[in-house]
C-alpha cells in the first residue's frame, strides 16, 4: 500500500492496462446492443455470470475439453441473448426507453436468483492456472495477457464484420436511422436478433476469459455490472472506440487507487470521476450530442 513511483506502482499501472482489456470487452457487447437496438441490458453482467457457470459446469461436471467448452458457452450465451431480446425486449420496444431498462432489471433478479438456486452461493473456481509472465521484478498473470489479446481481436473482428458483411452494413445503417431503414428493405427484426446474438456471444466470450481469473458466484454481476455501464456511458453509449478508451481510464483509476489506498476507494474515485465527467460532457467523452 504505497504510492511511491517504484516498480510496484509501474506494475499496478501495467496491470491496470491489462484489466482494461477485460472491461473493454465487456463494454463492447453492451455498446453494440445500445448503439443498434437503443436498449440498455442492465442484466448484461448477469449473462456473463451465466456464461461463467456454463463453462464451469460443462468443463468440470461433464468433462468436455476446455476449448470445446468455450465454444459451447459462447453459443449458449448468444442463444440467451436472442431469447432475451425475443421474450423480453421485443414486447416493450415501442414503450418509453426506461421501461426497456427496467424490464432487464427484472431479468437481473431472475438470473441471479436462478443461479443461486441452481448452483448455490458458494464461490467456485475452475482451477485452470496459466502461470505468470515475469518482466524484470514484475509479474503479469498470463490469463490477463490472454484476455487483453482476445479483447483486441474481438474488437477488430466485430469492426470487420460490421464493415464488410451485408448484415453488418444493415446493422450500422439501422443504428443511424431506425425509422428509415425498414423502408429501404432492411428487416430490422432480423438485424436486432443478429445484434442480440453477437452481444450475447461477446458476453459469453468475456465469461470464458473471466473464469480464468475470477471465482464464480451468483453475485459477481453486481461487481462488474455497474462498472461496465459506467464505461459505456463514459465512452458515449453506442460508441465502441469510446468505450475502449473509457475502459482504460477507469481501469487506471481502479488499479492506481487500489494500489495507493484500498480497492473500494479505487472504485469509488472511478465512480466519482464518472459522475463529474457526465456533468461536463453528458454525451460521454466521445459521444455525439443529438
Amino acid at each position: 500500500m504505497s504510492c511511491q513511483l517504484d516498480v510496484f506502482f509501474l506494475e499496478a499501472i501495467l496491470n491496470g492496462l491489462l484489466f482494461a482489456g477485460l472491461l473493454a470487452l465487456l463494454a463492447l457487447g453492451l455498446n453494440l446492443i445500445f448503439g443498434v437496438i437503443d436498449v440498455v441490458w442492465i442484466c448484461y453482467a448477469e449473462l456473463v455470470m451465466i456464461g461463467m457457470y456454463a463453462v464451469f459446469e460443462i468443463h468440470k461436471k461433464l468433462g468436455v475439453p476446455l476449448v470445446l467448452t468455450f465454444v459451447l458457452a459462447i453459443l449458449l450465451v448468444a442463444a440467451a441473448g436472442v431469447l432475451l431480446h425475443w421474450l423480453v425486449i421485443r414486447p416493450v420496444l415501442d414503450t418509453p426507453p426506461i421501461n426497456q431498462l427496467l424490464v432487464t432489471g427484472g431479468v437481473l433478479f431472475f438470473l441471479q436468483a436462478a443461479a443461486t438456486m441452481a448452483f448455490g452461493v458458494e464461490f467456485q473456481n475452475l482451477g485452470v492456472r496459466m502461470g505468470s509472465f515475469p518482466v524484470g521484478d514484475m509479474y503479469f498473470s498470463m490469463s490477463r495477457i490472454v484476455t487483453f489479446g482476445v479483447a483486441l481481436v474481438a474488437m477488430i473482428a466485430l469492426w470487420q464484420f460490421l464493415k464488410r458483411t451485408y448484415i453488418g452494413t444493415a446493422i450500422r445503417a439501422i443504428s443511424q436511422d431506425r425509422q428509415i431503414m425498414p423502408l429501404m428493405g432492411v428487416d430490422s427484426r432480423k438485424a436486432y436478433l443478429v445484434t442480440s446474438a453477437i452481444g450475447g456471444g461477446l458476453a459469453g466470450l468475456a465469461a470464458c476469459l473471466m473464469v480464468l481469473q475470477y471465482d464464480i458466484y451468483p453475485q459477481i454481476g453486481l461487481q462488474f455490472g455497474p462498472l461496465v455501464f459506467m464505461i459505456c456511458v463514459l465512452g458515449g453509449l453506442g460508441n465502441m472506440v469510446g468505450g475502449f478508451v473509457a475502459a482504460f481510464i477507469i481501469a487506471q483509476f481502479i488499479t492506481i487507487g487500489g494500489a495507493c489506498f484500498a480497492t473500494e476507494w479505487g472504485y469509488a474515485v472511478a465512480f466519482l470521476f464518472f459522475i463529474i465527467v457526465m456533468f461536463i460532457r453528458p454525451q460521454g467523452l466521445f459521444g455525439d450530442r443529438t
Binding site: F34, L101, F229, E264, M278
Partner: protein, 340 residues
Amino acid sequence: MTRRINPFYVAGLVALVALPFVVKAVFPDAQRYYLHLAIQILLWAFVYTGWSLMGRFGLVSLGHAAFTGVGAYVTVLLWNFAGLSPLLGIPVAVLLAVVLSQVVGYPCFHQRIRGHYFALLTLALTEFVRLCIVGLRDYTGGSLGTQPKRYDGGLSLYAVQFEPDRTLAYFIALVIWVIGLIIWVRVDRSMNRYALDAASQDEEAAASVGINVTVAKLKVTAISAAMCAFGGAIYGQYQMYIGPDTVAGLTLSLNIVFAVIAGGIWVMLGPTLGAVLTQVLAETLRVGIQSSATLKAWFGSSALALDSLVYGVLLILFIIYMPKGILGTILEWWNRKPRR
C-alpha cells in the same frame, strides 16, 4: 375551502389504527411477528412513495438507495461516534441527503440528462455511496454492517430507539406513512406537478411556455431524497442494524423501482400496495420454504433466493402487460365503469 373527505380513507385509517389491537387479540402468540411485518410494510411504503414522486414524472432514478444509505448511516455514525442524538442526527442526515441530491441533480437537469443516461448516472451515485460505506469500514463495519449503540434498554426518545415496543413502533411507522401520503397529495395538487407533467411530455415545449424545468425538477428531487433519507434513518433505528446491502446498493434501488411499478406509479396508494405485495410475497415464500421439506431438500438454503426469482419474473410481466401497476389498472377499470 372545504374538501369532501373520501369515506374510504377514513375507514381505512381507522382500521389501521385498530390493527395492532386486533392482532393482539387474534394472534396473541405471534403478534410481534405480524406487527414487525406491518411496520416494515409501512416504512418501506414511505420510502417507495418518496421515490414515486420522481418516478411518476419520468425521472427514473436508480440513485435513491444512496439517499436511504446516507440517511441511515449518517444518523447511526453521528450517534455512535459523536454521541449526537438522532433527534438532531436525523435532520442532519436528511439535510445531507438533500444537499447530495441537489449537487447531483442540478448539473443533471441543467444538462438535460434523462432516460438511460439519468438512470445510469444515478446508478453510479448508488455505487459511489455504497463503496464509501464499505471503504470507511473502521466506522461503518464495512460490508458486515453496524448497529446503533443501545441506550437505556433500547427504548428511549433521546436515542430515538423504539424496537422493543412493537406497538409504539407500529404507530410511529403509521404516522410517518400518513405524512408520506400527505406529502404525495400536496405535490400532486401543486403547480409544480403540472410543470413536471408538461416537462415529462416535452421538456423543450414546457420550457418555451415559461416553466423553469430545472427548478421544478430540483424541488421534487429534494422532497423525494428527503423522504428516502428519513425513511432509511428510521428503518435503521427500528431494525437496530444497518448494512450496505439492506439500506444501500443497486439491489435496493431496483427493489424500490419494482415495488412502485408493481403497485402503480401514478396513484397515491400504488407504492404502498407495492410494499405490501413485495413484503408479503417475500415472507410467504420464506415461511413456505422453511415449512416445506421437499423444497429444502432440493435447494437447501439457496431456496431463499426463490423470492428474487418470483420478483424478477413479476417485474418483467408487469412492465410488459401492466405498466400502470395493479392499483393503477384497477382504478382505471373502476373509473371507466359507467356511474349511476
